[in-house]
Amino acid sequence: MWINMGPQHPMTHGLWNLRVKIDGEIVRDIDPEMGYLHRGIEKISEDRHYNEIITLMDRTCYVAGIAWEHLYIQAAEKALHVVPPERTLYLRVLVEEMQRLASHIMWYAAFVQDLGLMSPFLYGMRDRDLLLDHFQSFTGGRLTYEYMRVGGVRNDLPPGTTDRIRKTMDWLMDRFAEYDRLCLGSQIFRTRCDDLGVLKAKDCVTYGVTGPMLRAAGVKRDLRKDRPYAAYDRLEFDIALADTADVTARYLVRMEEMRQSVRIIRQVVDWLDHHPGPVMAANVPRWLGAPYAPIGHEGYLLKRHYSKGVGLSAIEEPHGEATAYVVNEGGEHPYRVKFRSPVFVNLSAAKSYLVGYHVADIPPIMGSVDVCVGEVDR
């Protein structure tokens, strides 16, 4: 019998439909349906200035907005031949790692709620708010940051921010130990999650699954190490790995990634304290924010023969590997913008890690995937 889980279901964490074929309590077949949250972000981007697309990037993934801004800005800078100053690279790493912490803590809160634990959910939301307060202190927004610009970032850190970030990081490390006591210390949690939703390394590579799911299967793959971008090649950190490829392994990988993020942030704030400098490139084309062309003359900027270019960038987003592709044909708007969403691929492989388990196992397994439908449908 086919049943629909979604589009409105606590398990889905957003708008998508999971069609399940069941035989009693056993799942026999899976058909994930996406597209309920499609907003046409790629198409809207073709009608906007390069800087205006940043506002769309925050809405692409609502728990990892800065990571998507970073992804787009890297591609746009390559397409526009703009080189950001060095301090900007470290600031971008700082905000991306803080966003990774916020995203993983949000995942933790949602995941334990799928398991029926209410207290850790509240702790997770409380601790994520500390990071959002820091974001508010220097970007001005709590969820939609609009922090990156072509050629740099919006502003430098206000005085005293690095010290406050250091304190928060120390405090968060204690909280991670508490999370582990709440989950790993409980035999009920282990009994529930061990050997659940197994997706072996071979299947991961076949489907193109990336991110914590791939590393939970024991594959040593992290774009921050393999193809370093921004300032990651100058920072010390380890790749989090586990080998059992089940829900517990994904939990362990994400917890270890949060500890590594704290390690990176501590190095970055030390660097930022000793290396002041500009945060915006000196030569940014002014026509990026040029006013709209007169009606009927939209192509007039094209006649001026501004330099053309193509930009491709890939980053390790909290959910996996994301890619952006920006084509600059010389106009004031990009000719084409394309994104690769990691969660779309991870969801599409649902058949291989859900079939054979019980219906009651679906919420914990899907919770361990870390679904963000905003970036699946874009």
């Binding site: 205006e52 940043i54 939609t144 502003n155 709440l182 009920i188 000196a282 006013p291 007169p294």
Partner: protein, 259 residues
């Protein structure tokens, strides 16, 4: 060098302990939250209360209401009508097209003064308008309560935005610096007809029309019909708003690279 994320294998034979250990952690948090709650009881307490101002939770570095941190929040705009130069940059930079330039009293009939009117039903609080403002007259304040009972009330006229300015709420202190070598307005001279539209609409009056020598027509050649004047832009006064580019009927002004 991969970090080992392997769990410690602890087999506790006593089922009571399985439940008791996580519950002890939760109980500790419960007692802590009785002493120092993590939340603010919103309608009765507010972040901008003097009680929370300059208060930092020491153990976590939690900037609960500390002055400068809270001041950076992007809320409702404040507009100083007196210093606005009607340059249109806020309306140009708005991604949601929620800013409309409306006439306010104070300008001459030939050159009406226009100030931004913001439709908060569309605004996404991205702050591009206040970043683009060259005079610093459009800023964002920390005001965040915007409930209205009817939809037309969401449109804030310049006068209403000026009222927000007069309340002297904490302004967003972060000013965005412009790039050092900014592109400037350049002229494609052969296309110009000397129509004076750019000099007329320039908000800072940095464009002057200078005479150009009228060439002598060769026999059989027809001179273009035009006024023999050309705009000259004073780059140090120019705010790079691009109004001249959008009003030019012959598309002869454009953004040029820095000399």
């Amino acid at each position: 060098m991969a970090a080992s994320a392997k769990p410690k294998e602890e087999e506790s034979p006593n089922p009571v302990l399985w439940v008791a250990r996580p519950m002890a952690t939760a109980a500790r948090q419960f007692v802590k939250s009785l002493v120092r709650p993590s939340t603010i009881v919103y309608p009765f307490e507010r972040l901008e209360d003097p009680k929370f101002r300059d208060q930092v939770r020491v153990e976590s570095g939690h900037p609960i209401g500390i002055g400068e941190v809270w001041d950076n929040y992007r809320g409702v705009h404040a507009l100083n009508i007196a210093t606005c130069i009607s340059c249109n940059l806020c309306a140009f930079s708005c991604p949601d097209l929620c800013i409309e330039m409306v006439t306010v009293p104070g300008g001459d009939p030939k050159h009406p003064k226009k100030c931004p009117q913001i439709d908060y039903g569309k605004c996404s609080y991205c702050g591009f308008c206040s970043d683009a403002c060259p005079e610093g007259c459009l800023t964002m304040t920390t005001r965040y309560e915007l409930s209205v009972s009817r939809r037309p009330e969401m449109v804030f006229s310049p006068q209403k935005l000026h009222e927000v300015f007069e309340r002297k709420l904490p302004m967003n202190p972060i000013r965005v610096e412009r790039p050092e070598n900014e592109d400037a307005i350049r002229l494609d001279a052969p296309l110009c007809i000397g129509c004076n539209a750019c000099a007329r609409d320039c908000p800072t009056n940095c464009i002057t029309m200078v005479d150009t020598p009228k060439p002598t027509a060769k026999p059989g050649e027809k001179l273009p019909r035009r006024i023999w004047k050309e705009p000259v832009v004073n780059d140090s006064d120019c705010v790079r708003c691009g109004t001249c580019i959008s009003v030019c009927p012959k598309e002869c002004l454009f953004w040029g690279t820095h000399p």
